[in-house]
C-alpha cells in the first residue's frame, strides 16, 4: 500500500527510478566486459535515457487532470500544481533532447557514460523539487541537488583542462550563491518565524513589510539571479559555458535557467507578492541590465559558445520582464518563453556540438560556408538563431511578443522599449553567424559529420520552433497554469 503522498509524487519518484535504472542497465550490459576507455558501442544509453525522459513527460502530462486544484503535501512542504507541472515538463524535455542529442558525443568522449545520463536525471529531479517547493528548505534541497549534479557534469570531459576549470568555477561561485540564499532565507525565517511559503505570505499580510524581510528577499533574489545568469550575477556564465562539454552547456543554459525561473515564480510571485513594492525595482533592474549588458557583450564575441552565453544572459532579461509584471499574463509569457527557449537554445547548442566536433574548436569563423558544406544544418541553425533574435513567425517572436505585451498591459513601457531596442541589437550578432554560414566561401573545409541521434534531436527542436507559429494550445495551458497560481 503506497501512502497517498507518494502517489502524488509519481513523476519525481519515477525520475529517481529512471536515474537508477540507467546505471543498473549499464551494469547489466557488463561494463567489465567492455574495453576501458571511450566506447562508441554505448550510444544506446542515450536513446534509452531519451526514451525514459519522454515517458516521464507523459507521466507529468498525466497529472494535469488531477491538479485542477493545487495539492499540498506534508503540511505545505511540497506544493503540486499545474504551473509546477509545466516546469517539470520543460526540465524533462530538456533531459530528453540532451540525452538523444549527445548519444554519440557522450559515448565517444566520456569514460562514464551511464553516470552522465544519470546525473542529468538527478539534476532534473532537483529542478522538479524546486518547481514544487512550498518551503524555503525544500527549495534549497532542490537547488543543491540540481547544482551538485551540474558541477560534476560541467567537468565531465576529464581530459580537457577547460572543462575542469569550468567545473571548479561553477562550484565555487555556485556555493557562494547557495550561501547567499541560505543567509537570505535565515533572515526571512527570523522575520516570519517559519520557512513555509503559505505562512510567510500570511505574516506579510498581517504585519506588513519589514526591512529584514526585504533584505532577506533581496539576498534570495541574488541567488536566483545567479542561477538564471542575470546581470550583475552573470560573470560565471561565459567561462563555464565555454569550458563545459557542449551538450551540458546546452542543458545548463536552458533547463537550469528555467529552474531558476521556477524558483523565482514560486517565491516572488508566491509569498513575497505582498511585498512586491519593495523588491520589484530590483527585478526590473536585473531585467533591464541583463538585456542591455548581455546583448552588448555578445556583440564582440568570436567564440560561439561565449556568444550564446551572453545571448542567454540577455534572454534571461527578456524572461524576467514577464515576472516584473506580477501578473498571471506575465507568468504565462515567461513560461511560454522558457518553453520555446529550451528547444531553440538546445537545438543551437547541439548544432554547435556537431560543428565543434568537426572543426575542433568553437570559433564563429569555423562556420564559414556552412550553407555549402551542410546546407540543411545551416538552415536549421539559421532558423534557430532567427528565433532567438525574435523574428516572426518563429517561436522566439511570439515569446518576446507576449512578454512585452504583458509588460505593456501593466504600463511598463520602459522595459518594453529596452527590450525591443536590444532585440534589434541582438540581431547583429545572430546575423554574423548567418553571414559566416551563407556569405563566406567554404574553402577547403569538410562537411559537418552529424550522427543519427543528434540529427533527430536537432530536427525535433527546429520543428517545435516552427510549429509554435500557432502558439495557442501552449498559451492556453500556460495561462491556465499561471492564473491558478498568480491571481492578478
Amino acid at each position: 500500500m503506497i501512502p497517498v503522498e507518494l502517489a502524488q509524487l509519481k513523476p519525481e519518484l519515477l525520475t529517481l527510478g529512471a536515474a537508477l535504472a540507467i546505471i543498473l542497465a549499464d551494469l547489466i550490459q557488463g561494463r567489465g566486459r567492455l574495453p576501458a576507455g571511450p566506447q562508441a558501442g554505448r550510444r544506446w544509453i542515450g536513446w534509452f535515457s531519451g526514451l525514459l525522459a519522454v515517458g516521464l513527460v507523459a507521466v507529468v502530462a498525466g497529472r494535469w487532470q488531477h491538479l485542477s486544484w493545487p495539492v499540498q503535501l506534508w503540511g505545505g512542504v511540497v506544493v503540486l500544481d499545474r504551473l509546477g507541472l509545466i516546469f517539470k515538463a520543460i526540465f524533462l524535455l530538456g533531459v530528453a533532447v540532451v540525452s538523444v542529442g549527445s548519444a554519440d558525443y557522450a559515448a565517444q568522449r566520456f569514460r562514464h557514460v551511464a553516470e552522465y545520463y544519470a546525473l542529468l536525471f538527478f539534476s532534473a529531479l532537483g529542478m522538479m523539487l524546486m518547481a514544487s517547493a512550498g518551503d524555503l528548505i525544500t527549495l534549497y534541497l532542490g537547488l543543491e541537488l540540481t547544482t551538485l549534479s551540474l558541477y560534476v557534469l560541467c567537468s565531465f570531459a576529464k581530459d580537457n583542462p577547460r572543462s575542469a576549470e569550468a567545473g571548479l568555477k561553477y562550484i565555487i561561485l555556485g556555493a557562494t550563491a547557495s550561501a547567499v540564499y541560505l543567509y537570505g532565507s535565515s533572515l526571512i525565517y527570523g522575520m516570519a518565524g517559519t520557512t513555509q511559503f503559505a505562512t510567510i505570505a500570511r505574516t506579510i499580510g498581517w504585519f506588513g513589510v519589514e526591512t529584514g524581510m526585504i533584505v532577506g528577499a533581496i539576498f534570495v533574489l541574488a541567488a536566483f539571479g545567479f542561477k538564471i545568469a542575470a546581470v550583475p550575477f552573470h560573470m560565471w556564465a561565459p567561462d563555464v559555458y565555454q569550458g563545459a562539454p557542449t551538450p551540458v552547456t546546452g542543458f545548463l543554459s536552458t533547463a537550469s535557467k528555467a529552474a531558476g525561473f521556477a524558483a523565482i515564480v514560486r517565491v516572488f510571485l508566491g509569498p513575497m507578492l505582498g511585498a512586491a513594492s519593495a523588491w520589484l525595482v530590483f527585478v526590473v533592474a536585473l531585467s533591464a541590465l541583463s538585456m542591455v549588458v548581455g546583448n552588448l557583450l555578445a556583440l564582440s564575441q568570436r567564440d560561439i559558445k561565449r556568444m550564446l552565453a551572453y545571448s542567454g544572459i540577455a534572454q534571461a532579461g527578456y524572461a524576467l520582464v514577464g515576472i516584473a509584471t506580477l501578473s498571471s499574463l506575465g507568468t504565462m509569457a515567461t513560461v511560454f518563453f522558457l518553453f520555446q527557449y529550451l528547444f531553440t537554445n538546445l537545438g543551437a547548442f547541439l548544432i554547435v556540438t556537431a560543428v565543434g566536433s568537426t572543426e575542433g574548436d568553437d570559433r564563429i569563423s569555423g562556420y564559414q560556408g556552412l550553407s555549402r558544406r551542410s546546407p540543411l544544418l545551416a538552415a536549421a541553425l539559421l532558423v534557430l538563431l532567427l528565433s532567438l533574435g525574435g523574428i516572426p513567425p518563429l517561436s522566439g517572436f511570439w515569446a518576446k511578443l507576449f512578454v512585452f505585451w504583458s509588460a505593456a498591459s501593466r504600463g511598463l513601457y520602459g522595459l518594453v522599449f529596452i527590450g525591443v531596442l536590444t532585440s534589434v541589437m541582438s540581431l547583429y550578432y545572430y546575423l554574423m553567424v548567418a553571414r559566416a554560414m551563407y556569405m563566406e566561401p567554404p574553402g577547403e573545409k569538410p562537411p559537418v559529420r552529424l550522427t543519427l541521434p543528434a540529427a533527430a534531436a536537432i530536427l525535433i527542436c527546429v520543428l517545435v520552433v516552427i510549429g509554435l507559429v500557432y502558439p495557442r494550445p501552449l498559451l492556453d495551458m500556460a495561462y491556465a497554469a499561471a492564473s491558478g497560481f498568480v491571481s492578478r
Partner: protein, 504 residues
C-alpha cells in the same frame, strides 16, 4: 465569386512556390524559374482581375475578406481584406515581381535559394498590403525584411555585406518602434462602452476614439517606425546602400515595393487610427518630405554610380509620397498613393535597366559610358520613358501623381500652420517643385551621358541590346507607365474611393 478566397491565394501562391522550389533539384534551373514565373503570374492575373471587379461592380470599402482566429484571447486573427488602396498596391507588387522574375532569369549562382528568398519576400509584401489585422501586418512586415539580408548579402555586389547588415538593422529598428506603437494602440483602445477593445483588428481600431495626448506620441512612434522604411531623411541612409548593393530583382522589389510598405503603414495605421496625431505632426512630415525631395535629388545629381543615382532618386520620390500624405486631403492623398504606384513601376523599370546595362557593359560608372543608344536602342528607349516619368512629363504616370500631390498641398491646412500670414504648405509645395527641376536635370544628364554622345567602339563596340525574357520586363513596365499617364482614371477612382476612412 468564381474564385474562392482570392486574397489568400495571392498570399499563398508565392509561398507555395518557394516551398516547392526547395524540393526541386539544384540543377534544374528551368523548373525553378518556371515555378517562380507561374506563381507571380497567378498573383498578377488575380490582382488585375480583382481590381477590375472592384471597379466595374462599384464596390467600396474592404472586400474579399478572409478571417481566421489565431490567438483568440489576445484578439489576434488572420484577417485579409482589400480596398482600392490595397488593391492598387497589390497590383503594383504583382507587376514588379512578375517582371523581377524575368529580370533575374540570368541568375545562376545558387538560383534555387535566390528564388526561394525572393518569393518569401514577396509573400511578406503581399501580406502587409492585405492584412487588416495590425498584428499580422507586423508579422508580414518582418517576413519581408529578413530575406532581404540574405538576398543582398549573398547575391549583391560591391559592399554587399555592409549594406545588408545596415539595411536589416535599420529596418528592424523601425519595426521596434512600430511594435511599441502597436502595443500602445492595443492597450489604449477602448470600446465606446469603456471596456478594453483587446483586438488588433484595424477596422475596429480605426473607428475608436483616442485621447489627443496618446495620439500625438503614438503617431510619432509609428511615423519613425514606418518612416525608416519609407526612407525619410535623415534615416534614409540604409536605402541607397541597400539598393546599390542588391541584385537587380531585389533592387526592383526593394525600391519599387518595399519602401511603399512604410508609406502605406503610415497611411493605414497612422492616418487611419490616429487622425489627430497625424494632424499634429503634419508640419514635421511635410518639412521632412520636402528635404527628402530636394536633398535626394541634389545628392542624386552628384553620383557617378548609376545605381546610386536611381537609389537617391527613390529617396527624392518617396518625399513626394510623404508630402502628399502630410497635406492630408483627398486630392493630395490620391496623388500620394498614385505616386507610390507610379514610382514603384518606374523604379522597377530603372533598376531592371541598370541591371541590363551593367550586365552588358560591366560598368556602372556614368562617366565611362556614352553613345550606348546606338548599340542598345531598346534599352535606351525604355530608359527615356522611365526618365520622363521620373520628372513628371505629361503623358506619363509621374505627371498625374505629382500634379495631384502639389495641387493638394497648395490648398492644405488652410487653418493651421501659418506664420505671419504665410501658410506653410504652399511654401513647401513651391520648394518641392525646385526638387522636380533638379530631377529633370540629373535625369537628362544621365540619359545624355549614357546613351548619347560619342560611342567608345573599342569597349562597347559589340554590346547587345536586350533579348527575349528581358524584353518582357521592359515592355510591361514601360507600357504601364504610359497607360497610367494617359488614362489615370481607373487608378485614381480605385484609390480616391477608398480614402474615406483615412481622411479627417
Amino acid at each position: 465569386m468564381p474564385v474562392p478566397h482570392p486574397l489568400t491565394i495571392i498570399l499563398l501562391s508565392p509561398l507555395t512556390a518557394a516551398l516547392v522550389i526547395m524540393l526541386v533539384p539544384r540543377t534544374n534551373l528551368l523548373a525553378v524559374r518556371l515555378l517562380s514565373a507561374i506563381a507571380s503570374s497567378i498573383t498578377l492575373v488575380l490582382s488585375s482581375w480583382l481590381c477590375w471587379i472592384y471597379l466595374s461592380t462599384g464596390m467600396h470599402g474592404l472586400q474579399f475578406a478572409d478571417r481566421l482566429s489565431w490567438v483568440e484571447g489576445a484578439g489576434i486573427s488572420y484577417f485579409v481584406a482589400a480596398d482600392g488602396i490595397s488593391l492598387s498596391l497589390v497590383l503594383l507588387t504583382a507587376l514588379v515581381i512578375f517582371c523581377g522574375t524575368f529580370a533575374s532569369w540570368t541568375v545562376t549562382n545558387r538560383a534555387k535559394e535566390f528564388y526561394c528568398f525572393l518569393l518569401l519576400l514577396v509573400t511578406g509584401v503581399f501580406g502587409v498590403f492585405l492584412s487588416q489585422d495590425l498584428f499580422f501586418f507586423f508579422l508580414f512586415y518582418e517576413i519581408a525584411v529578413l530575406p532581404m539580408y540574405l538576398l543582398i548579402g549573398i547575391w549583391g555586389t560591391g559592399r554587399k555585406e555592409y549594406s545588408a547588415m545596415k539595411l536589416t538593422l535599420y529596418l528592424l529598428l523601425g519595426s521596434a518602434f512600430m511594435l511599441v506603437g502597436m502595443l500602445g494602440l492595443y492597450f489604449t483602445a477602448r470600446l465606446p462602452s469603456g471596456a478594453p477593445a483587446a483586438t488588433f483588428d484595424l477596422t475596429v481600431l480605426s473607428q475608436l476614439q483616442y485621447e489627443r495626448h496618446f495620439q500625438v506620441w503614438a503617431f510619432f512612434l509609428l511615423y519613425i517606425g514606418f518612416g525608416i522604411l519609407a526612407g525619410i531623411w535623415p534615416l534614409h541612409t540604409w536605402s541607397p546602400d541597400g539598393h546599390a548593393s542588391a541584385p537587380t530583382a531585389v533592387s526592383m522589389l526593394h525600391a519599387g515595393v518595399l519602401m511603399k510598405l512604410g508609406a502605406y503603414g503610415i497611411l493605414r495605421v497612422g492616418f487611419g487610427c490616429l487622425p489627430e496625431g497625424a494632424q499634429a505632426w503634419a508640419w514635421l512630415i511635410g518639412c521632412i518630405a520636402v528635404i527628402n525631395i530636394v536633398y535626394g535629388a541634389y545628392v542624386a545629381m552628384g553620383q557617378r554610380d548609376l545605381k546610386y543615382v536611381i537609389a537617391y532618386s527613390s529617396v527624392s520620390h518617396m518625399g513626394v509620397v510623404m508630402l502628399g500624405l502630410a497635406a492630408f486631403n483627398d486630392v493630395s492623398m490620391t496623388g500620394s498613393v498614385l505616386q507610390m504606384f507610379s514610382h514603384g513601376i518606374m523604379t522597377g523599370l530603372f533598376f531592371a535597366l541598370v541591371g541590363l546595362v551593367y550586365e552588358k557593359t560591366h560598368t556602372r560608372d556614368i562617366n565611362a559610358m556614352g553613345g550606348l543608344a546606338r548599340r542598345m536602342p531598346g534599352i535606351a528607349l525604355a530608359f527615356t520613358i522611365g526618365g520622363l516619368a521620373s520628372f513628371g512629363l505629361p503623358g506619363t504616370s509621374g505627371f498625374v501623381a505629382e500634379l495631384l500631390v502639389f495641387l493638394g498641398t497648395f490648398r492644405a491646412h488652410a487653418e493651421s500652420y501659418a506664420l505671419g500670414g504665410v501658410r506653410l504648405f504652399p511654401v513647401l509645395a513651391l520648394v518641392a517643385i525646385i526638387g522636380i527641376v533638379i530631377t529633370a536635370t540629373y535625369v537628362l544628364r544621365l540619359l545624355q551621358r549614357i546613351f548619347h554622345g560619342p560611342l567608345d567602339e573599342a569597349k562597347y563596340g559589340d554590346v547587345p541590346d536586350a533579348h527575349t525574357t528581358e524584353w518582357v520586363t521592359l515592355i510591361v513596365l514601360s507600357l504601364v507607365l504610359i497607360l497610367v499617364g494617359v488614362l489615370p482614371s481607373p487608378l485614381t477612382n480605385l484609390i480616391g474611393g477608398s480614402l474615406g476612412p483615412m481622411l479627417p
